[in-house]
């Protein structure tokens, strides 16, 4: 689906280009600049320090989704961006409003998602006086943004907005913050400045080094047991096709990171599925046995590598491709580090790769796939895999699933069968519980014609549950699937396996009746307790015109397998006991 990228970043396409008339306020210049960037939706919450923006908002062709908590606004902008490839925008007031965005900005930034956050600030003259609802949002967000601006003169607003969007979307995308004091929002502007006068904004990577590409191609061509690991960077670059061609040309088995779920066809004979801490046994086995490893469009964090000296120990060559040079050599010391866009590098590699079948390697991978299948217990209780399979088989290829964080996320990723980029979303780097519902609302706002399903546990759902009101109010008909195990399931599994079996503070002895709660919010709600109920319940939820919720009471002891014990290498994965 090339449109995922083609849609990105064509500022000014058929949009009202008229700049505000001389004498218009900073707020109007801000809103006009957003329109010029192609923004159609803002997720926000008004408050004392951003009211001038809200005063002029109704005059602009911008949809505003009123959130119930600013964290939700940031996650919605994030979900909007992940599902569309466009920059997501959220808006908050100063002080607590701005600080409430931080979790959401960190979530987006860690996963390289382009989000622009706009915050009101107390008036310029009162900055630094500990004024009411003053917060140092720039300082507070330094570690969770790619860049930030405090605009002290409204004449700079147009140029700052243009630059902020450019920074957010180019290179390795990320979160950008624009903090605007209230008086600047109200400042009349006669002539806007056309530039911020900055020396460097975007460090466009040079074309991939042809010498390194040739070396990588030689390593891959000489390999007997090649493995490729692919991350979300492949989707961001639109490199799925090149990835598949390279894998097929070299008979390389292809695993993916959590954020890379879906970048390689899950049912392809070379597909290995998820790598790492909770990856498939056959993927972790293949990485442990490969003699040449290619990592593309991904970081190699601890959840991918597990014990570092147990990561790809037999690999004679590791080729790491990333658009961000800082990710190369940061953890895994690849001997061939290529800075560049995933698509450019993979296509350059392909040109130098004579196709060569590797039947013995394929047979070895097939053997591991048969020896280490994903499996789950059959004990008469509703299993999460049964819920997910029933959901997925009812979704179309373009429909979107947003997973929360915890067991639900790993189950949802493991069961995923889609291949379109931007259709399986989750919080990878930060692992932010509460992500799924607001991100699904954002994804739905970006894709009104597609179905959007949010998969979550009851724990994460409770963290941002208030956004159900947003979904109903904004007519964004997301479908919430709660895999309800009445406990913090992943914590419980960790305690069982890694912390001497001491179950401590994991039981949700009190949870609301989600079915009734959904109805109280104006959603469709239903409880599902058996496999027999599943199909009709999902059909009813999908058929309901508005937001709907299914409270699926799953086996409370259901775990995620395989899992690599803390401190162990990938090859030490532990599988689900045979039931």
């Amino acid at each position: 689906m090339s449109s995922f990228l083609a849609a990105i970043d064509e500022p000014g396409r058929d949009l009202p280009s008229a700049a505000p008339a001389p004498g218009a306020t900073g707020a109007e210049f801000l809103l006009a600049a957003l329109v010029r960037e192609g923004v159609d939706t803002i997720f926000g919450l008004p408050g004392g320090a951003n009211l001038p923006i809200y005063q002029y908002l109704p005059a602009f062709p911008l949809r505003h989704v009123l959130v119930r908590h600013e964290q939700g606004a940031a996650h919605m902008a994030d979900g909007y961006a992940r599902a569309s490839g466009r920059v997501g925008v959220c808006l908050a007031t100063s002080g607590p409003g701005a600080l409430n965005l931080i979790t959401g900005l960190a979530t987006a930034h860690f996963d390289s998602v382009p989000v622009v956050a706009i915050t009101g600030q107390v008036a310029t003259a009162t900055i630094g006086t500990d004024a009411f609802q003053e917060s140092d949002v720039i300082g507070s967000c330094l570690s969770v943004t790619k860049h930030s601006y405090q605009v002290r003169d409204a004449r700079d607003l147009s140029a700052v907005v243009a630059e902020a969007f450019h920074v957010a979307r180019t290179g390795r995308p990320g979160a950008v913050l624009i903090d605007i004091p209230k008086d600047v929002q109200q400042q009349p502007v006669s002539v806007a400045r056309g530039s911020t006068g900055r020396y460097r904004v975007h460090r466009a990577p040079a074309p991939p080094s042809s010498e390194l590409v040739a070396r990588a191609a030689a390593h891959l061509a000489a390999a007997e047991r090649p493995v490729i690991l692919a991350g979300r960077g492949v989707a961001v670059a639109g490199a799925q096709g090149a990835l598949q061609r390279l894998a097929e040309a070299s008979d390389a088995a292809v695993g993916n990171t959590l954020l890379g779920t879906g970048v390689f066809p899950t049912r392809h004979p070379l597909a290995l599925g998820l790598v790492g801490f909770m990856g498939t046994g056959y993927c972790n086995q293949a990485v442990s046995d490969c003699d040449c490893l290619v990592m593309v469009g991904m970081r190699a964090d601890d959840r991918v590598t597990c014990r570092l000296d147990g990561f790809a120990p037999r690999a004679e060559h590791i080729i790491h491709i990333n658009i961000d040079p800082a990710e190369l050599g940061k953890t895994v010391d690849a001997d061939c580090q290529i800075v560049g866009d995933a698509k450019q590098v993979l296509e350059a590699l392909l040109e130098q790769m004579p196709p060569r079948p590797r039947p013995e390697w394929r047979a070895a991978v097939d053997g591991w796939r048969q020896r280490h299948p994903l499996r789950h217990p059959h004990n008469g209780l509703l299993q999460p895999q049964e819920v997910l399979a029933a959901c997925y088989e009812r979704l179309g290829p373009d429909d979107i699933t947003v997973a929360d964080v915890g067991l639900n996320q790993m189950w949802a990723a493991a069961a995923w069968t889609g291949t379109e980029p931007g259709t399986f979303l989750n919080s990878g780097g930060q692992g932010t519980m509460g992500f799924a519902l607001p991100a699904a609302i954002g994804a739905q706002a970006a894709n009104p014609d597609r179905r959007v399903m949010s998969v979550c546990g009851e724990g994460g759902f409770m963290m941002t549950i208030q956004e159900l009101a947003t979904a109903v109010e904004a007519d964004l008909p997301v479908k919430v699937i709660i895999l309800n195990n009445r406990q913090l399931g992943m914590v419980r599994q960790f305690q069982d396996v890694f912390y001497a079996g001491v179950r401590s503070q994991i039981d949700h002895t009190v949870t609301p009746d989600f079915q009734m709660l959904a109805r109280a919010f104006g959603c469709h709600g239903q409880v599902v307790r058996s496999v027999a109920d599943l199909g009709p319940a999902i059909d009813a939820a999908l058929a309901y015109p508005g937001p709907a919720l299914l409270d699926c009471w799953i086996d409370p002891e259901a775990n995620i397998y395989p899992i690599v014990p803390f401190g162990k290498g990938l090859a030490d994965f532990v599988e689900c006991p045979e039931s």
Binding site: L142, Y199, R200, A326
Partner: protein, 198 residues
């Protein structure tokens, strides 16, 4: 800056300070050109601190370009790969260029101001200052202030020499540096297409 007023410990304090040298062999000398904008130092120190890259020293100065600050940092990468210092700093939008000068035989220069209480020993002090080629920049009956400048090793040696005298206080800058040879990173200081004059 090291400033020890009043009960200054003389030679011990100077010899123990090692303020012009990194203590770890992994310490890198980093040269930065950054946009001279509000909060830029916070961005740099935060970038290092949040990744466990210890900022051992920092000197700030104005270079030949308007709107650009020059910084010289000594950074201990700790357990991180040393090239993370340059790579992470290079991601900051306000950083115009960043070079690791450690291996480029940089020309380094530091400066110190030393304050003495003559107490009738003015001649002896001034004789010593002449010998170490320090310059007297202030002189009154109560105090005498000398300025020293030179490569960090030389300034350290001069301070060691002066530590025998009745020093009241001293301050010492971190070294500035100019690298020789080609930059370690390929950071093109290309202006953004939209950027014009300020």
């Amino acid at each position: 800056m090291i400033s020890q007023a009043g009960a200054f410990g003389g030679s011990d304090a100077i010899s123990q300070s090692q303020f012009l040298h990194g203590s770890s062999p992994r310490v890198r000398l980093i040269s930065l050109r950054v946009e001279d904008r509000a909060g830029v130092l916070q961005r740099i120190t935060n970038c290092l601190a949040r990744r466990g890259l210890h900022l051992a020293s920092c000197a700030v100065g104005q270079g030949s370009e308007s709107g650009v600050l020059n910084l010289w940092l000594r950074v201990d990468p700790g357990t991180q790969p040393a090239d993370q210092i340059v790579k992470q700093l290079n991601k900051l939008i306000d950083v115009v260029s960043v070079d690791d000068l450690t291996r480029s035989e940089p020309i380094e220069w530091a400066m110190a101001l030393v304050e003495f209480r003559p107490d009738g020993r003015g001649d002896q002090i001034e004789e010593t200052l002449r010998r170490v080629r320090a310059e007297v920049v202030h002189r009154d009956p109560e105090r005498l202030i000398a300025a020293l400048a030179g490569p960090p090793d030389l300034v350290q040696a001069m301070l060691d020499e002066l530590s025998q005298l009745p020093i009241v206080d001293f301050v010492c800058s971190r070294p500035m540096a100019l690298g020789s040879g080609s930059p370690v990173t390929a950071c093109e200081p290309a202006r953004h297409a939209q950027a014009g004059s300020k």
